[in-house]
Symmetry: C2
Subunit: 192 residues, 2 copies
């Protein structure tokens, strides 16, 4: 069975394919009707629902999957939060990480956690959603080439390596997105 994923991010698509093993993960941009929506929600869940509903509109007969994820830093009052992907003016991974390091400079509390809200919408408009978190801390400079976004700066609790230094399998087993996706898989009462 197919799951249409409202993302074109290769890293996320790989992560989804790895976890939803029994399904074929289809990126939403293979549907010509797809138009990326305005993510103007005020929470991860709201933005994930906005994306999932936009995907469901383009692919009404499919199960659709969407997620919204971000990094929450208590010492920065929760920033970058839902603005994680557009934290810096440039909005690139490198510029976002640079801004993060600048804002954390001199702060003693470098604890942080990733949050992922993941949403499945079925053709009959029933919806399952779940949240996954990954707790850790932000280090002083980037390490590792795997992963994307803030991964090279984030050392998960109980680890010495950054998320970008972990193998894909290791990352999926502890990542916020992996946890949220696996919770979706445990839901019953649907065709999934």
């Amino acid at each position: 069975m197919k799951i249409v994923f409202a993302s074109t991010n290769r890293g996320k698509l790989r992560e989804a394919a790895e976890i939803f093993k029994d399904f074929e993960i289809v990126p939403i941009n293979t549907f010509s009707a797809w138009k990326s929506p305005d993510e103007n929600g005020s929470t991860f869940l709201q933005n994930a629902v906005i994306k999932a509903e936009a995907a469901a509109k383009s692919a009404p007969d499919s199960i659709v999957l969407a997620d919204d994820s971000g990094l929450v830093i208590p010492a920065l009052d929760g920033a970058p939060g839902i603005f994680s992907a557009r934290f810096s003016k440039e909005g690139t991974d490198a510029a976002n990480r640079e801004k993060l390091l600048a804002e954390l400079s001199g702060k003693s509390d470098r604890s942080a956690y990733f949050v992922c809200a993941a949403v499945l919408i079925f053709p009959d408009k029933t919806v399952f959603a779940a949240e996954g978190r990954c707790y850790g801390r932000i280090i002083e400079s980037c390490r590792g080439d795997n992963g994307f976004g803030y991964d090279p700066l984030f050392v998960p609790e109980g680890y010495g390596r950054t998320l970008a230094e972990l193998s894909e399998d290791e990352k999926n087993s502890i990542s916020h997105r992996g946890r949220a996706f696996r919770k979706l898989l445990t839901f019953k009462g649907s065709s999934i």
Copy 2:
């Protein structure tokens, strides 16, 4: 077990209590932290999620329930839709109905349907949502004293009476909200 319902509408509270029989339905305004959120979503589901998340913030240890409902009229391009409760300037039931009758005046297609998006959020942030619909048509003038909102103008398919002329039990058995709530009850894998 308790379910905190993000509504203070007596009609909705009664409808919820009737369907979630095995639970105690607690109105959200018994929580002092409750602040009614801006319902600025662009779909019923998005507004229901906004309300449910606001309720979950006020009552983080409870299962919370929220819904967003409205009347969709194809001949009016889907209006009043998510603006059903604030269709007229005054925003009262009577003024909304009056505006609806004025806009439908002279239209031959008076078919309409109610939509309800209902959302449950659990303390672990898993979410179930479902949609219910009730198809029918808009008559020329109000009939019946039960129900609220557009009920006195709406005759469900297969019925001769308006929703406001049906008993509470009859209405719950076919209403959009009743259908959505009952779908939530069928979901498995949670403590509900």
